[in-house]
């Protein structure tokens, strides 16, 4: 029996594993926004973000036969997307910036990924644009934790499964990311009065 858009992820994954490409198409359609959101916040609104999101789905498709339902499909997909982003970030700045940077100096060593264009600022709104730039200027380890926690709204346990890091460590990274953002956006009325 053909599955429709109301089927849950597990049923769609099982159908995809049996070769039902329509089922996989529904999964892609359902999770495209979340995956693209993560890649866009991690890499900046560049063509890379869309390519990497697509690559994440392709990688998921190739590995789907080995998916054992030990985690939710969305958790597994986030993990693939985050790993893809990490690969891109490593390739972008070979030898100059450590992904493991944990000091707040990382704020200044990471330039915004996008050009500061007036058009974009007007289009998105100054505050949102500044916030977006601030997120992309976070050290990558803080950024991925912050994005999963506050952009995607995930809990620390699920984040721990995705990133393979203890939840207490993740809480500390999120905490530091908040403080860094608060400082870097302190000149804006919307964040600091």
């Amino acid at each position: 029996m053909a599955l429709d858009g109301a089927a849950d992820d597990a049923a769609l994954v099982r159908a995809s594993q049996r070769g039902d490409r329509d089922a996989f198409g529904i999964l892609v359609s359902r999770h495209a926004t979340s995956v693209l959101s993560v890649t866009t916040r991690m890499l900046g609104p560049t063509a890379d973000a869309e390519d990497v999101a697509q690559e994440a789905f392709v990688a998921a498709y190739k590995a789907l036969h080995g998916f054992q339902f030990e985690a939710k499909f969305s958790t597994w997909l986030y993990r693939i997307a985050v790993n893809k982003c990490t690969d891109v970030l490593r390739a972008r700045r070979p030898g100059t910036v450590s992904l493991d940077a944990t000091d707040e100096d990382g704020v200044t060593s990471w330039e915004p990924a996008d050009e500061d264009t007036p058009h974009r600022a007007l289009e998105q709104g100054e505050l949102a644009w500044e916030l977006d730039q601030g997120i992309q200027a976070l050290p990558p380890l803080y950024r991925e934790s912050f994005v999963l926690r506050h952009i995607e709204g995930l809990g620390y346990d699920e984040m721990s499964t995705i990133l393979g890091v203890h939840r207490d460590t993740l809480k500390m990274r999120v905490y530091k990311a908040r403080n860094i953002l608060c400082q870097s956006l302190a000149h804006l009325d919307g964040v600091r009065r």
């Binding site: 697509q54 190739k62 916030l131 952009i151 908040r178 400082q183 302190a186 964040v191």
Partner: protein, 232 residues
């Protein structure tokens, strides 16, 4: 920066857990008391709350209309070689011809027939050459294929010999920008292509021969000869 330089011991943790909505009732009271006493801490918490509010208001990215279709294209199974041949053979083709073309084709057929007849008589009148053993003639030959793709993340090989499944034959990066693989092939004629980053199919630029694949692209052609043939 606001001159909030962490307050009495434990305030940081309380604020952090407050933002994560993990405070117990007693802890909430404790935090509220501290906020009432510590102006800097209160301002800091307000800043953080405003930050969280703005983060929640950030727009979600728009998924391009072509996104899903593109993913489905990228994950579409590659047709097997026999299927490609079958499709080419059974797809209807319109044959356009004129008198000049027909005359040229006829001339080629006649020339081909004459050459074949000549070769047949020549072979019949020549003593049989020393023939390598059957084992030698069909023994696999190690073939090394190299392509330069400095910007590639992965390079794979697809061809007649692996069912046109690139995942079965990945190349390894050797020197800067060069990718190579060594595969055992029985003597014969093979068509193949490289697959760059899992999506870009390219013919081997170093191939001595290429052929039309019937889909508007050209495959590289590899002629593998047995050692016995090669020495003739």
């Amino acid at each position: 920066m606001r001159d909030h330089e962490m307050n009495p011991a434990g305030s940081d943790e309380l604020v952090q857990r407050y933002l994560d909505q993990e405070l117990s009732g007693d802890e909430r009271v404790q935090l509220l008391v501290r906020l009432g006493r510590d102006h800097a801490l209160r301002e800091h918490v307000i800043d953080l709350e405003k930050l969280m509010l703005e983060v929640r208001r950030l727009p979600r990215p728009m998924v391009p209309d072509t996104f899903v279709a593109r993913v489905m294209d990228l994950t579409a199974p590659t047709p097997a070689a026999w299927r490609r041949v079958f499709d080419v053979l059974w797809t209807p083709h319109a044959l356009h011809w004129n008198l000049a073309g027909a005359t040229a084709a006829l001339a080629l057929l006649v020339a081909g027939a004459l050459v074949s007849r000549e070769l047949f008589w020549q072979r019949a009148s020549t003593p049989a050459p020393a023939v390598a053993t059957a084992l030698d003639a069909s023994a696999p030959v190690l073939v090394r294929l190299v392509v330069v793709q400095p910007d590639a993340t992965t390079v794979e090989l697809a061809g007649d010999f692996n069912g046109w499944d690139p995942r079965r034959t990945p190349l390894e990066q050797t020197t800067s920008g060069a990718w190579a693989v060594t595969i055992p092939l029985e003597p014969g004629r093979y068509e193949y292509m490289f697959v760059v980053d899992g999506k870009q199919w390219i013919a081997d630029p170093f191939a001595v021969e290429q052929s039309d694949d019937g889909f508007g692209s050209r495959n590289a052609v590899l002629d593998v000869r047995s050692p016995a043939e090669a020495s003739l």
